[in-house]
């Protein structure tokens, strides 16, 4: 086993994924055994002994240790795997580039078929020799393949062979596999780390559940409060399953595996949000979360169906290879030639299509058996390239009619609008999971779950899944889809931030802040800042986990008081929690040196670059900029209201206390990471801490984990290193790089304004919040009602849904049931008559027959006299009679 892992270190991540699954299975079996034995456990019996061995009625914290150990080990595996990956990724990347260059050199002589082999250019020979000399006796391709094999692997799960797919003998293949790149590796470390801390935190936080009976103060029954069995083990079992689902989602190398994990994550969130399911609010919240997510998943499934139909695979690499144009050889460059009018002259503009989505107008099949396909900028179809020809394209020399050669059969095409629909569908799934506008309503309600669950769902895992998927399937998205993503993100981040300003429940503030930050991530991805969006996902995971666990610590310390209006002045009572949360607040506000600064600045710069190039979308920059100030305001408002000022509720204040070490240690660790996680690495020029563009994590993501689209490398940074740009957003990215610093100052200014307002309103009391509320009652009410989204959905969807359901019920009761009843009554009547017929006619006939035979028999009885003499007489007489008859017959015949 050790040897296997050494040969394929990617398996470390697979082990990390399976560990929580093992823990889940173990806890499930344990719980099931206890449940099964409980009724038979009589005092002193054998069963009772076994039951007591398994923990008896109060099993203690064992399940927590199992789950925590599993996720801790998973973290260890991921961390080691991450280390190994870091050591290999640079070499892998270098080899890939080198191989591409070699490929270009090799391909040249073979390109022109007319040119004889012998006429090789001597110069090229020398060039090749030089290249080969540089790496003598090394099988570069082989080395590269070995390195790739370390981090990729899959097993075929199902194979559908259909003659309709492009390559009939392969068919369509469903696989289970893993693909580790920088994004997955970093996410693994982040998720397992945060999950470990949350497990640890939960041991303290959920300790109430260890008791044999727990009284739920929020559920009222006729006999007082509701009492139930403690659910400590169940909680950790769900956590384990949740962790497994999330890790499997990160691990997957194909969309289908992601979809399966996606649904598992959904059901786990349902179970965890509804953990206190006896409370109506909790069970409603769980339902809301689940149903809202179903809406998104419907879109996801549509996307999957479209891709499966046209591409016959869910594997990311294969999908991207088909949809994105491969890197071209020197001879087979795919170039789009457009005739454009400039200054009354017709010019030809050439666009290199490397790694882009190629649109075309598919022509008719010609008589030669191949198809003539014209490339066109606004073509109706998307070219699908052969899926196994990754990396390089050996096309024909001429590009105007790309497929004027017999190999064209390998190429396919799909309608462009269907690709857009597929992209939108997958994004809809992400909208649901990441709580984006217009499906953001479920997330704040999901606060009904225990606080560690809120942290796990809102920081590290479930909501991250949507952003992660957008990042993963990035090359599938067309410009239209990306623009949709940007706008959805921009609207979400603004709406959620404004709502967070008026919330008074500490967890609700954090929930809306999460929605807002997810909006930032989506916006970052949509405007071509792949790295920016995902970097923010990572930094946000740390500081939001910190903030949630901090709020959990506050809530625990205040004996389950969540209303900030009853807090205040808690700083001296819980110093560790307060300081740790302050780190989180500073990070989310984007104060320089804190992790949030690096990621948020990059998103804002990207948005600015995008707005510069596309002036009509300037809103995409204004909204996040304004929201940066709002974010600072509401986060500081929360912190000031909780920890500063005078205690507003003496009772809460007196009983407040600092939490035990299981809860504060995770807070301290997360606080440290919230500050440092995005820091740059010191290099030969010093430690560029104050350069937001130098984040080490961002650098790793950008250079080693880019989707196929980030390719162009003609821009250099201050030290002469090339910076890859997104092929679809070259101009935007360049503008973003150029204006990064300026945008950063602008953002700082806005943050300062937000901070000043927060100080004025909530710390120094220069302004009275109540007065502000009275000044703008309309706005306040509007925000307090969360922009009336719940009311809108209630009026637009829930209420009509109920009405339709009512109709359906009535239809069922009256039409369907009525029809069935009518049929029944008919049947009853028919049976009545049928019975009459049966009894009267059929039975009557049979009875008549029986009666007749009886009568005949009865008559014949008299003949049986029992007197021997009369029998003899009969005999004699009969003989005489027969003789007479015989004679008469003979006489009649004879005449």
């Amino acid at each position: 086993m050790f040897e296997t892992v050494r040969n394929q270190p990617g398996l470390l991540f697979v082990i990390a994924t399976l560990l929580p699954l093992g823990s889940f299975a173990l806890l499930l079996a344990w719980g099931a055994l206890r449940w099964g034995l409980r009724p038979y456990a009589k005092n002193g019996s054998l069963v009772d002994n076994v039951y007591q061995c398994l923990g008896g009625p109060v099993p203690g914290p064992g399940p927590a240790y199992v789950a925590t150990a599993a996720i801790g080990l998973a973290f260890l595996c991921s961390f080691i795997g991450f280390g190994v990956f870091l050591s290999e990724v640079g070499e892998m990347h270098r080899l890939e580039h080198h191989l591409h260059e070699l490929h270009l050199e090799h391909a040249k002589p073979h390109g022109h078929k007319a040119e004889p082999e012998a006429k090789k250019d001597e110069k090229e020979d020398a060039k090749q020799a030089k290249l080969v000399k540089k790496e003598p006796e090394r099988n570069l391709q082989g080395e590269y393949n070995i390195l790739r094999h370390h981090w990729l692997g899959s097993t075929t799960w199902a194979q559908v062979v259909s003659t309709k797919t492009k390559d009939a003998e392969r068919g369509s293949i469903l696989t289970v596999g893993f693909k580790i790149d920088m994004l997955a590796a970093v996410m693994f470390v982040m998720v397992t780390f945060i999950a470990t801390l949350i497990h640890l935190f939960s041991i303290g936080y959920m300790s109430d559940e260890l008791k044999k009976t727990v009284e739920d103060h929020e559920v009222h029954t006729p006999h007082g409060h509701y009492e139930r069995r403690g659910r400590f083990g169940r909680f950790f079992m769900f956590l384990s399953l949740f962790c497994f689902s999330m890790l499997n989602l990160l691990l997957a190398d194909n969309l289908f595996q992601i979809f399966v994990s996606w649904e598992l994550v959904g059901i786990c969130s349902f179970l965890l949000v509804g953990f206190y399911f006896e409370r109506t609010s909790a069970s409603n919240a769980a339902n809301k979360a689940f149903i809202t997510n179903r809406v998104g998943d419907a879109g996801f499934i549509i996307g999957l169906m479209i891709l499966w139909t046209y591409c016959g695979t869910f594997n990311f690499e294969e999908l991207f290879a088909q949809i994105r144009c491969p890197k071209a050889d020197a001879d087979g460059e795919i170039v789009l030639e457009e005739k454009i009018k400039a200054n009354d002259k017709i010019q030809i503009r050439k666009t290199n299509l490397s790694n882009k989505i190629v649109r075309c107008d598919p022509g008719e099949n010609t008589e030669y058996g191949w198809r003539q396909t014209n490339l066109a900028k606004d073509g109706k179809a998307v070219l699908l390239f052969p899926r196994d020809q990754s990396g390089h394209f050996h096309g024909p020399h001429q590009t105007e009619y790309l497929f004027d050669h017999p190999g064209a059969k390998q190429y396919g095409h799909m309608p462009y609008w269907l690709l857009v629909v597929a992209g939108l569908g997958i994004f809809l799934g992400c909208v649901g999971k990441s709580a984006q506008f217009p499906l953001q309503v479920w997330l704040p309600d999901a606060m009904e779950g225990p606080t560690p669950v809120s942290a796990l769902i809102h920081a590290a895992t479930m909501v991250a899944a949507g952003v992660y998927l957008v990042g993963r399937s990035y090359p599938l998205f067309t410009p239209e889809v990306l623009l949709t993503i940007s706008y959805v993100g921009a609207i979400t981040l603004f709406v959620a931030a404004t709502i967070a300003v008026v919330m008074t429940d500490i967890k609700k503030v954090l929930a809306y802040s999460t929605v807002s930050q997810l909006g930032y991530m989506m916006l970052g991805l949509g405007i071509g800042g792949w790295t920016a969006g995902l970097l923010h996902l990572l930094t946000h995971a740390f500081f939001k986990a910190l903030l949630f666990l901090g709020s959990g610590s506050v809530i625990y310390g205040c004996h389950h008081q969540q209303d900030m209006r009853k807090m205040g002045g808690l700083f001296p009572k819980m110093k560790i929690t307060a300081l740790a949360m302050l780190m989180g607040v500073l990070a989310i506000s984007g104060i320089p040196l804190f992790s949030g600064w690096y990621s948020k600045d990059e998103i804002l710069a990207g948005a600015f670059g995008f707005a510069m190039v596309n002036k009509q979308h300037f809103l995409l920059f204004l909204l996040p900029l304004a929201t940066a100030g709002i974010t600072t305001f509401y986060m500081f408002r929360m912190w000031f209201m909780t920890f500063m000022g005078k205690p507003r509720d003496e009772h809460v204040y007196e009983h407040a206390h600092e939490s035990p070490w299981q809860m504060t240690v995770p807070l301290i660790l997360l606080a440290i990471l919230s500050v440092t996680v995005a820091w740059p690495k010191p290099d030969e020029h010093g430690w560029p801490l104050f350069d937001a563009q130098q984040s080490w994590l961002a650098h790793q993501l950008h250079h080693y984990s880019q989707p196929k689209t980030i390719e162009v490398e003609d821009v250099e940074d201050a030290h002469g290193h090339p910076i890859p740009l997104d092929v679809d957003f070259v101009k935007e990215n360049q503008a973003a790089l150029a204006h990064h610093a300026g945008v950063g100052y602008l953002a700082l200014g806005v943050v300062a304004i937000g901070l000043i307002f927060a100080l004025a309103l909530y710390l120094y009391g220069w302004l009275d919040p109540a007065e502000a509320k009275e000044q703008f009652p309309g706005v306040h009410r509007f925000l307090l009602h969360k922009w009336y989204f719940d009311e809108l959905y209630s009026a637009a969807i829930v209420r009509p849904g109920m009405v339709i359901a009512h109709w359906c019920r009535n239809f069922d009761t009256y039409a369907i049931d009525g029809f069935v009843n009518l049929l029944g009554r008919w049947n009853l009547n028919a049976s009545y008559w049928s019975g009459k017929f049966d009894r009267g006619i059929i039975d009557g006939f049979v009875n008549v027959l029986a009666d007749a035979s009886y009568a005949v028999g009865n008559g014949l009885r008299n003949v049986q006299t029992g007197y021997l003499r009369s029998y003899v007489l009969f005999l004699a007489l009969s003989a005489v009679a027969l003789t007479v008859l015989l004679y008469a017959w003979v006489a009649a015949l004879g005449g």
């Binding site: 008299n862 049986q864 006299t865 029992g866 007197y867 021997l868 003499r869």
Partner: protein, 105 residues
């Protein structure tokens, strides 16, 4: 005038015996009497067989064999019937066949 006796007197004798037998069977209430009637019937038939054997070449052998057969049969029948009669007597202390009406329908 020939002294030869013809077939018909035999047949008439047979018929006479047969009729006597039948009448005996039909009128006697004594079981033994009925048995005698049966013997008469059988012997009437036997006379017919023998007469045909003599006067008809076709039945020369068959007639005699049947006659012998009937004699043997009659012996068997008499043995069985007398056994029945004895048993009947044991059970009913009489040989009046009118008393044997248990099988009456």
């Amino acid at each position: 005038m020939s002294d030869e006796v013809h077939l018909y007197p035999y047949l008439v004798l047979g018929a006479l015996l047969f009729t006597c037998g039948v009448v005996c069977m039909a009128t006697k209430r004594n079981a033994i009497g009925i048995l005698i009637g049966v013997e008469l019937v059988l012997n009437g038939a036997n006379i017919n067989f023998v007469a045909f054997s003599k006067y008809n070449a076709v039945f020369q052998v068959e007639g005699m064999i049947f006659a012998l057969f009937v004699i043997v049969l009659a012996a068997g029948e008499a043995a069985v019937a007398l056994a029945i009669v004895l048993n009947f007597y044991n059970n009913h202390a009489t040989v009046d066949v009118d008393g044997a009406d248990e099988l009456k329908g």
